[in-house]
């Protein structure tokens, strides 16, 4: 049985449809990439799965997580799953961390909110272990540091540590490396692969970066203007894209190892 099955997911703001009849399946431990340009609806899709759509959004369709339809779940029950069985990593770790609390407190409190009866002391130990797992050196000391005392890449490690503390079955990462330098990005992608190997967590990676998705995902969903343009195995999407938009998108990507010439562009004005 698949861990997550999304069927005919539609998100509307009034008359505007931002996601239109999206469907995909993600097996346990699998990894799915959702790629698209701005306005494609890829981030709205991830927010819909997490039940975090902004006010005024109307979400219909089925989001079945381990047999539970998340779309019809009460906010209270959703909160039990979100941050516990489904964890999230966002683009900007600084705005996702509270500057007034130490990172250790934030990891520990996030953990305690899902594990009633766990003492502060035990949760602190969980935080230190989670920080060690994401290779933050001297975790026992740095657990008492504040977010501003970490670099961008280290903050994203803290976010991953927080996401991992509850041993989630699904990690949803929305542009997790977009704000990072390329050498740091490579470290964070390696880290995500490593923790998935160790914990068996499934991954949904939302990104505009086709090369990143080609390295991370087993299955790729290509979105444009709220529609799924093409779905397939990563190998099929990158070696044999069927839809003209996917083909054009792949043509437009500047490549580091490529011959130099005019970049192929997509039709229509920019």
């Amino acid at each position: 049985m698949s861990l997550l099955r999304v069927n005919d997911l539609t998100v509307k703001f009034g008359d505007v449809t931002v996601v239109d009849g999206l469907g995909f399946e993600l097996p346990k431990g699998g990894s799915l990439g959702i790629v698209g340009e701005s306005g494609s609806g890829k981030s709205m899709t991830s927010l819909a799965v997490m039940g975090l759509l902004p006010k005024g959004a109307l979400c219909t369709g089925e989001i079945s997580f381990d047999g539970i339809d998340l779309n019809t779940l009460s906010e209270r029950r959703m909160r039990e799953i979100r941050g516990d069985r489904i964890a999230m990593i966002f683009q900007d770790p600084l705005s996702s961390l509270n500057p007034y609390y130490t990172v250790g407190t934030q990891i520990a409190e996030a953990y305690r909110s899902h594990r009633s009866g766990v003492s502060r002391r035990a949760a602190r130990q969980v935080a230190i272990e989670a920080m060690e797992r994401v290779h933050i050196k001297e975790a026992g000391r740095r657990v008492d540091d504040y977010p501003h005392q970490f670099s961008g890449g280290m903050r994203q490690r803290v976010m991953i540590a927080m996401a991992l503390s509850t041993e989630p079955e699904l990690i949803i990462a929305d542009e997790p490396t977009t704000a990072l330098d390329v050498t740091v990005q490579a470290q964070i992608l390696d880290l995500l692969a490593e923790v998935r190997r160790d914990t068996g967590a499934a991954l949904i990676m939302i990104t505009h970066d086709l090369a990143v998705v080609s390295e991370v995902a087993d299955t790729v969903v290509v979105m444009r203007y709220g529609d799924v343009v093409e779905t397939g195995s990563t190998e099929q999407i990158f070696s044999d894209p069927r839809h003209p938009y996917t083909q054009a998108l792949l043509d437009a990507v500047p490549r580091i190892d490529d011959e130099i010439g005019d970049l192929r562009t997509l039709g229509g004005g920019s």
Binding site: E37, S38, G152, D181, V182, T183, V184, Q185, A186, L189, H208, D209, L210, A211, V212, S214, E215, E235, F238, S239, D240, P241, Q247, A248, L249, L250, D251, A252, V253, P254, R255, I256, D257, D258, I260, D262, L263, R264, T265, L266, G269, S270
Partner: protein, 279 residues
């Protein structure tokens, strides 16, 4: 590239005082953002300054464009030392060097029409507008691939890529010899990015300006640059023509940077190209 030497930067240093470190009788501690950078830019050449955040690449560009004052070092534009020019004397610099910024919307006045935005550099320099403001704007818009009839529109009526074209049109209005592009395509979607890169290449072929291209994206740099200077911690660690730097990097940092770029598997790329060619 054997075009005319347009921009000659020598030993550029820029230090900033660190906030909160100054005392009543004690000067602030200094942070060295750029620690002795030299380069030449010729007509028709695109020199890319690449590096990660904090490498000093943007600060270097701002020093070269005289948007920032140097702590030490010299900037020569077309043979003239402009390092210490101030106020009115900077007008000649602004005629020679123009800048295209990363975020097109925050660098275009939302209350001004396209015509006013594009002609502003000429008005500011109290120069005549050849052929009149309207015709001039129409010609410029056409050159950057926008509809000439859009001259009365406001920035909010454009997409990100279109707004960046307006930013480029404004930079071209004064006929600059040097165009500084500070992460000018970084905020754009990949399909739009490709169009803007192609536009910059076409315009350079027509105009022959020298381009100082600041970017963190090595794949973009590979597509547009003729020469490359790799920066880290305020210094250039490796410089040379594009194919040498990318094909045979000498410095450990350059190698690490190139190795970190995510790549689509070559066998997938080959298969896709073969199928595309057969279509």
């Amino acid at each position: 590239m054997t075009g005319e030497l347009l921009l000659r930067a020598r030993d550029l240093v820029k230090q900033f005082p660190v906030a909160g470190t100054a005392g009543l009788f004690r000067p602030a501690r200094l942070f060295t953002a750029v620690g002795g950078v030299s380069f030449d830019l010729h007509a028709g050449e695109t020199l890319a300054l690449v590096g990660e955040s904090g490498s000093g690449k943007s600060t270097t560009a701002r020093l070269a464009a005289r948007l920032l004052d140097v702590t030490s070092g010299t900037v020569e534009l077309a043979g003239q030392d402009v390092t210490t020019r101030k106020g009115k004397d900077l007008a000649a610099v602004r005629r020679t060097v123009q800048v295209v910024f990363q975020d097109p919307f925050s660098s275009l006045n939302p209350r001004h029409t396209v015509e006013r935005i594009v002609t502003a550099p000429l008005l500011y320099q109290k120069r005549d507008i050849p052929g009149g403001s309207r015709e001039f704007t129409r010609t410029l818009l056409d050159r950057v691939g926008l509809n000439p009839d859009w001259l009365n529109r406001y920035p909010a009526q454009f997409s990100g890529g279109q707004a960046q074209r307006i930013g480029i049109a404004r930079a071209l209005a004064v006929g600059p010899r040097v165009l500084v592009c500070d992460e000018a395509v970084s905020a754009l979607d990949v399909s739009v990015q490709a169009q803007i890169i192609n536009l910059l290449r076409d315009l350079q072929a027509e105009e022959g300006f020298g381009c100082l291209f600041i970017a963190h994206d090595l794949a973009v740099v590979r597509q547009i640059a003729t020469s490359v200077a790799v920066m880290t911690a305020g210094r250039v660690v490796e410089a040379g023509d594009r194919d040498t730097v990318f094909g045979d990097p000498q410095h450990e940092y350059t190698r690490r940077l190139l190795a970190a770029v995510p790549r689509i598997r070559p066998e997938w790329e080959a298969a896709r190209r073969a199928k595309a060619a057969a279509r």
